[in-house]
Symmetry: C2
Subunit: 83 residues, 2 copies
């Protein structure tokens, strides 16, 4: 069993109103050293595969087909062995 930690972020050129709103909230709470906030998604996917290579190929395919929107989002992931 492998655990994939998947990080999905908006591409740098894409506007991020959610991030701007969070930054506004932080500033109004007094966190005035904040320069920018970018909001994204995080997913933990557990999958039953024989090898790390097989798991990595599957997760790559999941990201490009469903988890991320490759038009406006970038993704990356880390794999680790899980019980």
């Amino acid at each position: 069993m492998y655990l994939a930690k998947v990080f999905i972020t908006l591409k740098p050129s894409v506007n991020d109103p959610q991030g701007l709103t969070i930054m506004g909230g932080l500033k109004s709470l007094g966190f005035d050293t904040v320069n920018s906030v970018r909001a994204g998604k995080y997913m933990e996917v557990r999958l039953q595969e024989e090898s790390e290579n097989a798991a990595s190929a599957k997760v790559e395919e999941m990201c490009s087909k469903l988890l991320a929107n490759p038009i406006v989002e970038d993704y990356s992931f880390e794999l680790e062995k899980a019980d």
Copy 2:
């Protein structure tokens, strides 16, 4: 300037309908080795602080006050030096 990568996940005991829906989507696309999916949030916060300790304390405070809901969510973060 420091970059904080913040990961927010639902606590293990909290139901995650979004994760279940994503798992259903993956299975219907033929990814039948998936065992579970947990959905969470990911944020990149850039902040201007003098030291890593100061930055870490600020990010910890941001997470507990605004970014995460400590009743139902866990959070963790990584700090790195940024330009």
